[in-house]
Every structure is written in C-alpha cells, then in structure tokens.
Amino acid sequence: MTPAKTAQVEKWQLRLYVNDQSPRSGIALANLKEFCETHLKGRYHIRVIDLRKHPKLAKGDQILAIPTVVRLLPKPVRVLIGNLSDTERALVGLDLRLAGKPE
C-alpha cells in the first residue's frame, strides 16, 4: 500500500494537546509513547502542547477535547480524542496498524 510505503520513508509528526493539571493527560502521553515505540520506533516525533499555557492554539488547531492527538504527517490529518486507553481504537484511529505491519 502506498500510504504505508511513504509512511516508512517520512517521519510521523504527532501532536498531543494536554492539560498538565489533568491526570488524564499523563495517561494519554504514556499510551501514545508506548504505541509509537511499538509500531514506529525511531520514525516519529511527538510534540506535547499544554493548552492552558497556549490557549490561542485551541482556536487555531480546532481543539475541543483534551487530550487530543493530531496526526499531522503522514497525510491525511487524523484527530483522535481521549486518553488512548482503548488501544484497539487508538491504533485504528491513528492508522498505526498499517504503519506498524512491515516491521
């Protein structure tokens, strides 16, 4: 599959919007890191944004829920909300399965 191929080449760009005060955000970051280590080792970059510190970004990136993971690359953009505790849905939501298969 072509998206998978390109995904192999380019680095995954992920953004995690959190609220540092909320324990949910910590869980989300831990979960996300775990998925990436499993499926995308070395091919990902996660940027964590504390929305409380950067409230402007809530509008710019159209963030409603916290925590939210946005997959900027590879295209298309994907948005996943929640603390990623539902692994199955998280992997489907981010298309990590496909990306991870070749490994």
Binding site: A58, Q62, D86
Partner: protein
Amino acid sequence: MKKSVVKRAPPVRQLPKCPTGIQGLDEITGGGLPRGRPTLVCGSAGCGKTLLAAEFLVRGAAMFGEPGVLMSFEETEGELKANVSSLGFDLDGLVRRKKILIDYVHLERSELQESGDYDLEGLFVRLGYAIDSIGAKRVVLDTLEALFACIPNEAILRAELRRLFRWLKDKGVTAVITAERGSGERGREQLTRHGLEEYVSDCVILLDHRVCDQIATRHLRVVKYRGALHGTNEFPFLIGETGISVLPITSLGLNHRISNERIATGIPRLDAMLGGRGFFRGSSILLTGTPGTGKTIVAANFAQAAALRGERVLFFSFEESPNQIVRNMQSIGLRLEPLLAKGLLRFHSARPSLYGLEMHLATMFKEIAAFKPHVVVIDPITSLMDAGTGSESKGMVTRLIDYLKAGQVTSLFTSLTQGGHALQQSEAAMSSLMDSWLLLQDYEGNGERNRVLYVLKARGMAHSNQIREFLISDQGIDLVDAYIGPSGVLTGSARVAQEDLERAAGLASQQEAAQLQRAVERKRAALERQIGGLREDYETEALELRRIAEQVGTQTRLLTTERAASGILRQADAKVVAGPRAARARPGRPRVK
C-alpha cells in the same frame, strides 16, 4: 466579568437584568435577560435563533458597551458576518474594534476518532481565552447541540455541558445558548432536541415559526424566567431591516404628540360633514364598505388632495397595480400621474399572499421610513389582515397604527366588508383603534344600487349624523343629501323621482292657490259691485226724499200763502193747518226699505 460579579453582590429584590436592546424583548422580560446567567433560546429551524443571539451581542456591544463573544458551531465567521450585515448590523466594524469576537468551532465527525476518556477542556480554554482577550460580558453559543453530532460519547458531553454552564455563571457572563427545538412525539414536552433545558434553568425563550392557513408567522414566548416577572404570552415578532422586532401589543404607549391641524379630505361635502374642516392630522381613519362602494375612490381623493397641498403620500395597494389605479381614477377626473411624476405620490403594490404579515409590515415600515410620508393610504387593510390570523393581525395593525401615529402620519385604511350590518360589528375590533370611521354602503331598491356615505365616528370633532348619497361621475365625487321620507331613505332614481313628485305636488298646490285667490278676487269684485248698486239706490232715494221734502215745503208754503190770501179775502180769522191735509193730499211712494 469580575465587575459584574461585584455588581451582583448588593442584595436587590429584582434580579439584575442585561438589556438586549432588541425592540420589544426588553419590555416582555422586564428589562432584559438575567445578568450573569445563561439563557436558552430554542426553536425549530429558520425561526431566527442565531439572529436573536447575534443581535443580543451586537446591540450589547454597540448600545451598552458590553463586548461579546460569539462562538459558532455551525456558521463560519464569514457566513455570520454576511448574514448579519444583511440586517443592518455592522458586525465587521465591531469585530475590527475588538468589541465582538467571533470564534468558529469547526466540527467534523468523520475526522474525529475517540479512544478512552477525555473532557472538553479545550472548549473551555478556547472560550475562556476569547472572553478574556476582549473582556467580554456577553457570550453566545450557537448552537451547542452541534456537539452532540460530533462528540461520540454523550455521557461525557452531558457532564461537560453541565460543567460549562456552571463555569459560565462563575465567569459572570450573560450567555445565550441556542438550541434546536425537539421534534417528534416527544416534541411537546421537550424544548430542545438534546434536553439542554435541564442545564439552563434560569431563562428559556422559545421561538416559533408557525404556519397557519398557509401563512407563516414568527412567535416568541418566554417559557421560563426564574426570579422575575415576565410576559407569558406568545408575541409575534418580525425580522426586518433593523433586526428583530417583537411586538408586545400590551406595551404600546399611548403618548403620541397630537396635532390640532385639520386636513381636507378632497371632498368638500365630506369636510362639511366633519365639522367643516376635515380630519385631524396624524389621525387614523377607517373607511369600511362593501365591494364597489367607492372606497378606493375616496382614498384616492384623499391622497390627491394631500399631494396637491404638497404633502408626500404613500399609497399601499394590495389589490390593484399602480397603473390600474391611475387609469381608473382618471375616469372620474382624478389626475394622479402628475403627482406621481413630481414624487409627491408613491405607490407600493404587493399581493397580500406574496409573503406573511410580518414581512408585509417590515416592508411597509421600511417604505414609510424611507419616504417619510405625511399621509399613508392602505387599500385595503382587510386583505393585509388576511395574510395573518385573527388576533395577531390585529396586533400587527395596532403596531402599524401606533408607528404611524408616533410619526404624525395621517393614515387612511380601507376595509372591505361583505355586506350586511352584522359585519360592522366584526370591524369593531379594529375600529376601536381608529379615530374616524366612515361607512360606505349600498342601498338596493327600485332595481338599482346606490351608494351612501355616513360618518360613524369622528373623535374630537362635531360631525354630521346624516346619511349622504355618494355620487360618482366623471367629474369626481359629490355628496348629495339623501331623501329621508316616511318610507325610509331614498337614493338614486328613487330620490330623483321623489324630488320630481314633490316638485309636481308643489306646482299643483300653487296652481290651486292661485285659482282660489282668483275666485276670492271675483267674489270681492262682485260684492263691491253690489255694494255700489245699493249705495246708488240709497243715494237716489235720498235724493228723492229731499226733492219730496222740498216739494212738500213749497206746497205748504204756497197753500199757506194761498189760504192767507183767501182768508184775507174772506176775512177769516181761524188758523189753517196745512200739514196733514197736504200729506193726505199727496200719497207717498211705496217704501223700499
């Protein structure tokens, strides 16, 4: 917002209100929405929720100096600006001056996946940031229910909404939340599709766009207003050029300036019936009549007279096109064309069924505001009222009259009735709003119909109680005294016949009198002749008597002298009595006496 929290602190009996600036709404709610609390505005699609909310913000920013945030879940900033500016709000300018902040929340269910637990802190952060960045006192969330379509977990959403309203109250902002009306079997009980009313419990306003007899009218009702008195009725409202206008009939003021100036009707005899000087300026006149009684003609006369005085006249016609009116009026000698050309007369024609009553009124208000007429003619008001239903039409008409009166505009309404006296009563509802009421009626009889006019009422002036016959000729209108005789009112040819009859009778009695006079004359002449004859007789007799007397005298003298002579001769000494002998000797004529 902190300020408003402080403001709320002193314990006042009345809840602090936040004026909306929306025409009529503040009157219903007794001053506005509850300050520092959320208000729910619900209604079905297309009934003006977004507009009401937007107007609340815009007026707040422009009139009360309270900046506002509009968070839209449905329309983008550009769309909103376009929609609102079409109603005369300069949203763009307010946004530029940082009085209003529009935040469009883009929601796309298909792009969103969920996994595990989350909250809507992003929305809070976003809204909080927007509020703080311009110091907003007002917030609109339009429509929050869009969240239900994109947040998959309803349990989380509901919990977060509850938290949101709590948070809004804590922020001290006055919020308006719009929501779609719940539909289906539960629609009656449920105000909103997703039951938002259970979170917003301070004030609920229900908007409704109802179609009745194929005519759509918008209504507004304050379902709930915790801790405050409010109008509980359903009030019609309209969306016009200047935004929303709620029409609470009960709050109409009755304190217009009034004028003592009188204006002529264009029909001299009618002026004479109205105390000789016509109607008061700024009064409202109702002209009722059955079909074909000449309502439009009277109205056109009135319009022409006003325009000839140099006043601007706005003629709303709901039955005829302007050209048709001009042509028809030409046939009775009214020349409206030059007045049209001079711009003193303007027609506005529209089919009543073209749009709903509220829209008609909105366009009429707009036309009146633009043209600033001195006189407004509405021909006929009844077809306009057909565009609405029952009481709401009356309310709208009240509003219209009120509007015109406030502007010192003299208004003439024609009203079509279907004949019969009972209908006068059905007009009574509207007539109570009118200052003067003329009635045009048909009298049928002798195989013809004739028009009559009378003044049913004319507030503040002496007016004739007489029925006048109303004649329309190619020279225009004339009013003639109707013949009122023992057999009732006679009009038309019956009146003419009666007049002829009277004239003939008059002539006959005149002739008779002349004849009688001649006879008397003759009698007098005869009598005089007779008297003359008698006097002649008398005189002849008197003459005769004198003559006889003289004769007797002479004879006696003669006799005496004769006797004396013979006595001398006979030496007689006895006295001779001449009288009786003489009388016996000459027997008199037979006496006539």
